[in-house]
């Protein structure tokens, strides 16, 4: 029997095994956060991987307090805080340059509680190491889908009202640790901005409920093509701005998948946040979700502005704006800078 013949004969069995494996992967997803809360296992402390010192104007960098603290959470394709998609790395670097005296933290891995990244998961260490290695050589490898599926289940955990509070609290604690490690003074009341791209959008919104309480400081949220559910964090945030490209399908998918976003449910957190003006939307024009035409893409917009620069300028403006509800659109001068 040929391999093709064997595969055809075993297709149903293989599909069954695959389905059971996916269901098992999904069913086990909440246990990590729940077990941490119950004290069955500990949470890994945050340790910085990258350190971007704020650009200071004077010589005494140590005494100059950063003007802005920004935490960036990656989309669901990420498998490690050590490794980043090149375009996301470019975004964080550019944002840091643009903001100057600011701390931009982009090494928080939001898709796990008990591990720092997938390569540390004891049971599946070899599998995730293989995926990570494959990713390093080819960012578009098919194995990346495995990471996305695994992380998508964590987003489902974050959204689920039964598990979300525990998972989101653990993320808030990690973010607090990251902020402190990068010089944030607890009790200072200084505003923090959380940026979430794609699946990271849900993670930052959901962590906001707890981060606001842990820091006792305002938290501003920026979602870049984020997949956001109807989460209480939308009402805890000082303000949430959702940036979305016209060619990005994620928003429409989120509208369909998350019941709390349906107009019928007027009292959901999502619809309440819109009604109160706590959640506003900015259309970015002809920008897609990923690739060269995505938010961090290298292709220029019709007016010649590189997509990455446009996104960075807009986000920087939202961070520095006095009133988050009326962000100024970046000027052509700024885009040139």
């Amino acid at each position: 029997m040929t391999i093709v013949g064997w595969l055809a004969d075993s297709a149903v069995t293989l599909l069954g095994i695959g389905l059971v494996a996916v269901l098992l992967m999904a069913a086990l997803a909440p246990l990590e956060a729940l077990g941490w809360w119950a004290g069955w296992w500990g949470r890994e402390a945050y340790t910085p991987v990258r350190n971007r010192p704020p650009q200071t104007q004077g010589n005494d960098a140590a005494t100059e307090r950063p003007e802005h603290f920004v935490v960036y959470l990656s989309g669901l394709g990420t498998a490690s805080k050590e490794w980043r998609f090149p375009e996301e790395a470019a975004f964080a670097d550019r944002l840091q340059q643009w903001l100057g005296r600011a701390v931009v933290i982009d090494d928080v891995f939001a898709y796990a509680v008990t591990i720092r990244d997938l390569g540390e998961a004891r049971l599946s260490r070899r599998l995730w190491e293989m995926v990570k290695t494959a990713r390093l050589t080819n960012p578009d490898t098919m194995l990346g889908w495995l990471v996305m599926a695994r992380n998508a289940f964590r987003i489902a955990v974050s959204v689920d009202h039964r598990y979300g509070p525990f998972f989101n609290l653990s993320n808030a604690e990690t973010i607090r640790e990251a902020l402190v490690a990068h010089g944030y003074e607890l009790g200072s009341g200084q505003r923090v901005t959380l940026i979430g791209y794609s699946g990271g959008g849900q993670m930052v919104v959901a962590a906001t409920t707890f981060l606001t309480q842990l820091l006792n400081a305002p938290v501003r949220v920026i979602s870049i093509g984020g997949s956001i559910s109807s989460d209480p964090g939308l009402l805890w945030a000082e303000h949430t701005t959702h940036l979305c490209g016209d060619d990005d399908p994620i928003d429409k998918i989120s509208d369909a998948v998350f019941a709390g976003r349906w107009p019928l449910l007027r009292k959901s957190e999502y619809n309440t946040a819109i009604a109160k003006g706590c959640l506003t939307f900015i259309s970015l024009g002809p920008i897609g979700h990923t690739g060269t035409r995505g938010y961090y893409g290298s292709d220029p917009l019709p007016d010649g502005t590189p997509r990455l620069e446009y996104t960075v300028a807009l986000v920087a403006d939202l961070i520095t704006a006095e009133s988050p509800k009326r962000p100024a659109q970046p000027t052509s001068d700024q885009l040139g800078g």
């Binding site: 269901l23 999904a26 069913a27 997803a29 909440p30 729940l34 077990g35 941490w36 809360w37 119950a38 004290g39 069955w40 296992w41 500990g42 949470r43 890994e44 402390a45 289940f153 489902a156 955990v157 959204v159 689920d160 009202h161 039964r162 598990y163 509070p165 525990f166 609290l169 604690e173 409920t209 707890f210 309480q213 209480p232």
Partner: protein
């Protein structure tokens, strides 16, 4: 074991003939109670978030898992008794208590998939589907064993459920006390938080191991 699987198959396929035949088999009631117990274990696992939320230890988790399943079976027996009361005195049907309890326990066969309630985001919807599926099996089994039409079986099941709800309300205070006592004994926790209360609780109640590397 063979009887167990054939009973589960008959229940899941809503096959009234097979359910009637299964009731005639030796140890039928015991097998049905076993189905209900395993269904209870699976469903308790599916709903185990509440046990984690209450920060029970692994040993007590296992205790509560099996204790919860036993309590679940006890609840089913009470439901069976109320259906029997409703059918005997309300609907003037001459029915056997064994047959009703068998039907109610067999109705828990879909709950063998109760573990799927654990699935994030989809779990709550799956639980509702399993509840409906379970009710359909109970109605099919009652119809087959009592020799009544489907709507009459449904009426008996609903009447029994309503009677149980009334009894539970009337006995809420003493039952609540017993439940809390059992919870405290099994979990080792003085209070019980529900998942709906978990969100405000989290802000003031630290996890057992808030700081990495050791309990706080």
């Amino acid at each position: 074991m063979e009887e167990l699987f054939s009973l589960i198959g008959a229940a899941l396929s809503l096959d009234r003939g097979a359910l009637a035949a299964a009731y005639g088999a030796p140890y039928a009631l015991r097998t049905a109670l076993l189905v209900a117990f395993f269904g209870g274990v699976s469903l308790t696992l599916g709903q185990s978030a509440v046990l984690f939320a209450n920060q029970v230890t692994p040993r007590r988790f296992v205790l509560l898992l099996f204790g919860g399943a036993l309590a679940y079976v006890f609840g089913l027996v009470v439901w069976g008794a109320t259906i029997w009361l409703a059918a005997t005195y309300g609907l003037r049907q001459s029915v056997s208590l064994d047959a009703v309890i068998f039907a109610v326990c067999v109705g828990e066969a879909p709950m063998l998939f109760g573990l799927l309630v654990l699935l994030p985001y989809l779990g709550t919807g799956i639980h509702r589907l399993l509840d409906v599926y379970s009710l359909l099996v109970v109605v099919a089994a009652l119809s087959a064993l009592l020799g009544v039409r489907l709507w009459e079986a449904l009426l008996a099941a609903v009447a029994g459920w309503a009677l149980r709800a009334v009894l539970t309300t009337l006995l809420a205070r003493p039952l609540g006390g017993v439940q809390l006592w059992l919870w405290r004994a099994a979990s080792g926790q003085s209070t019980r938080i529900d998942l709906a209360d978990a969100l405000p609780e989290l802000a003031v109640r630290p996890p057992r191991d808030r700081t990495p590397g050791g309990p706080s």
